[in-house]
Symmetry: C5
Subunit: 350 residues, 5 copies
């Protein structure tokens, strides 16, 4: 779930002020939201299910002799009995808990350049053009490597920068860098050359030490640690992408849920018998629909979060993240570099 | 749940001394508390539920012929049978466990300036006015950035400082700083310019090194690490605010619980039949009320903790935290700076 | 659960040697222990429950006409049916799992001064009186701050040092320090001035650097990191004390369990009917008693661990910890300072 | 689950572009995959089960007198009743959750040389042959030690390098190193001499400091920390290999699942009776087959992930990892060493 | 579960090569293992249970009049009904999950001297006798302190070194060290003087700095950090030993499981009635035996892992660990110190 970036501060501020003390009202509004909601995710499956259900229902009611109906009723009772024995809840509970944990961990591994760039701004000081351009280039390479890395896990980023030429066009790379980049070959790793701009940053930092822009090798080490942490964020996302949840687990969960509803197609036909052996007709399988919302909805939670890098409503908005990082990066290393209001000693008495 | 700040030490000390060895008595008192309690959170829903329940009950008892009653009884049995099949407990168990984990993690990410300021006090030494004012300004910027950051996640802080002018009025910012602050523009990130005072602190630390108030670039690095940790606390709260629990999950949980009680509106009507097929009339659906407390109460635990930054009883008291941090900040960097009792060598023989 | 401190090494060593290979025997002995046991924690509740149960039972058996008994039996069946539908186990499972996790985390946040003091011993070297007194004073302030901090969370420590004067009497503070301490004012934070001795330690460390007892500012930084870690331990305990488990959760758990047993008071009366509709009389509700042990016992696990700083059998023995830390502190910084057996080169050939 | 290494970038990029917005279609395709799937893992067990089931079914239908059939039917009902009482789901839920956590932790402990080698490239600078050969040798020893270490936990690596001679043949070791390696003896530790190349790297780093290729002992410490982290990855895998999940737990899970299906062999025979005591004949035990997929499939998830170092479809592809690391290692320390595009000051105005 | 140390590499290598692609065969072999197995852990309890069961069975079949049998049958039905209502699975699931987590955490806290000693080897350089003896003595003190520490938690280590004299005899301590060690007194802490050899190591490291064997105080700090990490491992094990799982929890779990089987002694007697009210006789309570394996087995998982420091099959083999560490320690600090194969520049062209 994502808030829209632009203008949202004002909105969200007003929102909060309008809120009454209790969140309950807002909570019910949440239930009715469409975007990223249960309703949107489930309506196709539910429509298909009801179509099948009423087809069978019509055949049962109008296409069968009384004798066949009685015979079929036995199967209804048998199948209905079975539906009580499938403990979907636990399976889904454990399965979805695991997926949510993975999903949140992935979200935590998203690399933000802030820490690295704040340190660059603190340690590579000065406003002469040479130093400014070094800081700005480091910032640009940070964004460039995140585009290269996320392109191989996120559909949104891939659609924005489908080829390397788009990187040049968008100004993330100049022609000379592109030539240098093109000549590097990576054959085995499917994520290819995402780390190259980070290597360039590393070389720039090393040069800064050699040119005595950094005054102590400790400062280099601090920057290298930050750079490594930044790189680690991409690498971990590849790991989550590469080693997914075992297929068998997903298949077991999916087959169980859909198998359950296959059995209800017969077991929940009306007229049926209640616990007191009385025949009851309800025309609409209200309870089964509730269960459908419940179980299929829960399964969809898992499906949606399993691949959080797509373009669905619930997926991470990498494009917003890129825009935000781009703006922040230049603010930190350039516009706000060395800014500080003056201190007045006489304020001490105030 | 929060203890009241002022005077509470004395109170809580007395409290504890009055306690008997066993906590059990205190425990039962907890059950009867109103503030932040189950009773307060649930009474409106319960009243509405009972209203609906007795409306149906009255129609059933007084508005139906005997024949219709018999027919309706069949539905009661059917619906009652269904209510046994909704495994709310597991769903709620997993759902609330996840929310509580998130809630506690958020609570752990609240930024406290103590560590940063203790280090500032240890490394930027001296009591001449210039140095004191530097330390005090760093402390003030710490608080300022926490107000700016928390304002976009916490309703309480937003109500206390609704606009930037309030920051000037309250003395967190002077006019000159406000002008400088106003000229910075952040377009993409909805949390805007919260990090600016932290950038100012960074520049001040860098200046301290350049002016040789810090004697070694290692000391700068230590302070930058602390500053980064402090900034990280705000950033993480934004992340939790931005990437919420998937809406589908919340909808599944809420619909299941309310769906369950919709079914009980019919399935738990009295007179009903017990397991031995005997008709029993109880007038008050005591068991269903217990289930209401149980399930709706549990769901409310989740709702309350999902947005812990509001103004509810259970929400984090950011205003208290701000006051506490403000007092501590100045104590650490100014009042207690360099304080130490004298050591006497002759105490060695004691 | 705590082992007794003194003499226990010998005891526990003998214990272990007496053990057979299998722990099973020891395990059964555990079941019969009284201190900190299920039996001790539950007997009052169970006695009360049985009193209520037999009161109703007597009325049912001797105070009712046959007709009333038959009518009452219907209610018994109805209530008994209900008792099968309360899924206490999951609720308790999730609830107690969360409490146990918190409890263990709190236990991990107990501050031990060993690491800080070992580093003090390694870096502030020398056996001349001035240096020794510095190390010993740091050790004393460590203990002093832990007393001040734990006093506001632990009943045991509060009972041992109820006022600041007790600190002076016990020798943790001298009169001069007490005066200095008394003049510091903390108004907002309810935990008051626990951090002051840690500030004194910090100033002493800074002085050591200025007086060149520490040879490099890196050494100061290492000590400050250790000091901060030590302080963090107290702060986290305050956090756990301040932000408790949501009251609603506790109320839901408690009401569900006691509600369940309220229903069994009627639903489990004897003579009852078994699954084959035969009347069976057992006089003693053995099964319900087992459930009582099970559910109430489990709930008590949660209650006991929720406030682990009291004076119950299961609570942390802060007094033992204080004694242990006191002894260790002086051993590390003074008695064992600089101790090492001589190395003999000729042992190389052995 | 593993993506194939070579050419997969292009493939996966195309894949993603072809995807519609919703993942659902792709999701159903997942269900039908064979490699690493439920179907592949379960078909043998299912075939055996159905064979046994129909053997008993044939005997029951054709080999029994009516009297015996009636008698046998009683047992069917009894056994069927039992099958409802085995709560496999929870057991499997907890069991598989634990195994998956372990499996993912192991996956996180796989050692990647990137961080160490990036630091080597940053700190041991220069393109003269002596320095290049040092960096390349360090890279080679990294790979060598990972082969030595993984060989004792992974079947794939063992099959690729079954003896030490294969290391020489493949060029990971030269003859001189092999001689030196052979003379070292490790008797107790079953993982033998995997750490020796890491010791060589350590000595090389120390020599670099002594020869002033490293300019400060801090740089050595940084590299040693990285080296230690790299070594830790292997050591932890040994620990997971050595201290496995308690055998009893696995036995309990396996026996319960297979025991359950042993009881269904009799309890689920057709013709059977449904809840309304009517005889129903279905010829194919569809529901039991669904349960088979469900329970045995879930158990297989656990079995497959318990030993993730084999050669199964779900197992870690260490050979791919080795190839990838080999390519990356030389890229980092040699081909990309010191590479950086030039910065142009006039780009500042762009 | 532990692999045997000596010769096991060869064995396990052969093992792995013999494996077919699928682990399934090996998996079934696991089920039949005796050492550390379910069968070994459970057979005594099962035998006792069956003895009691058949005693009651014999009385019921041969020692009762028909009337009494009919009466007893009622109780059988009642008790059998109860056995369905005890939700042992969840209790055991949560209980065992917690114990396994603790067990694995303890396993992770086992101290291995590798990291400390690799750093000692890197930083305290030289092969002259004085330096060698320092490194070797540090290695020996590492092992010595682990023996002293583990002796108070592990039965195996205690049996190997029951008194301090055994330490001298085994060569871990010389006479002079023993005298020095004996004179130190620790009264409060039950783990006594385990940390003393670590204090000696610390003093030796400090001396190395003073004698300029270490060239920078940073190196000392690195070594002290490693030493502290090593000490932390012992301390944490003491913490796990001291603050055990709350006794009430264990009692609740144990009483529930054994209570359940007490009820089955009557409730599962044969001949009984099935769900269709038909009398069925099975002579052997096969289903109850399966449940016995299941529940008692699961409980035993918990019991075995609760005290992992005994001498059971599943317990940590501290003696193997000591032997392994002893061998590794001397290899690292002495035999392999400074070893590295020569680099040849001309290999660059290869």
């Amino acid at each position: 779930s994502t808030r829209l970036p632009l203008d949202s501060y004002a909105v969200c501020a007003r929102d909060k002020r309008d809120m009454t003390i209790s969140y309950s009202d807002q909570f019910f509004k949440l239930l009715l939201r469409w975007k990223g909601s249960l309703w949107k995710t489930i309506w196709k499956d539910l429509a298909l299910y009801l179509l099948l259900y009423y087809t069978i229902n019509m055949v049962y009611r109008f296409g069968m002799t009384d004798e066949n109906q009685a015979k079929f009723l036995r199967y209804i009772v048998l199948f209905n009995g079975w539906t009580h024995e499938i403990p979907l809840t636990f399976l889904l509970g454990f399965y979805v808990a695991m997926i949510i944990r993975r999903w949140w961990e992935q979200c935590q591994w998203i690399s933000w350049p802030d820490q690295l760039l704040f340190n660059v701004s603190a340690l590579i000081r000065g406003n002469e053009p040479e130093t400014r351009i070094i800081r700005r280039t480091i910032a640009r390479y940070c964004i460039l490597s995140s585009v290269l890395a996320w392109r191989s896990v996120s559909l949104r980023v891939l659609m924005r920068y489908p080829t390397d030429e788009h990187l040049v066009t968008s100004g993330l790379m100049n022609q000379e860098e592109y030539e240098m980049f093109r000549q590097i070959e990576v054959k085995v790793d499917p994520h290819k050359k995402w780390f190259v701009p980070l290597n360039w940053i590393q070389t720039m930092l090393v040069r800064c030490l050699e040119q005595e822009r950094l005054t102590h090798s400790n400062e280099l080490r601090g920057l290298l640690d930050n750079l490594n942490h930044y790189r680690q964020g991409f690498f971990q996302l590849f790991l989550y992408d590469w080693i997914t949840i075992p297929l068998v687990y997903t298949q077991v969960a999916t087959i169980s849920v859909y198998g359950f509803f296959a059995f209800t197609l017969i077991g929940r036909q009306f007229p049926s018998v209640n616990d007191a052996k009385e025949s009851v007709d309800l025309y609409l399988p209200v309870f089964t629909i509730l269960q459908f919302l419940f179980y299929i909805g829960w399964l969809k939670v898992g499906e949606d979060l399993m691949f959080p890098f797509g373009a669905d409503d619930e997926d991470f908005e990498f494009n917003y993240i890129l825009d935000r990082n781009f703006e922040m990066a230049y603010l930190i290393v350039d516009d706000l570099h060395g800014q500080v209001p003056p201190c007045y000693v006489d304020s001490l008495n105030a």
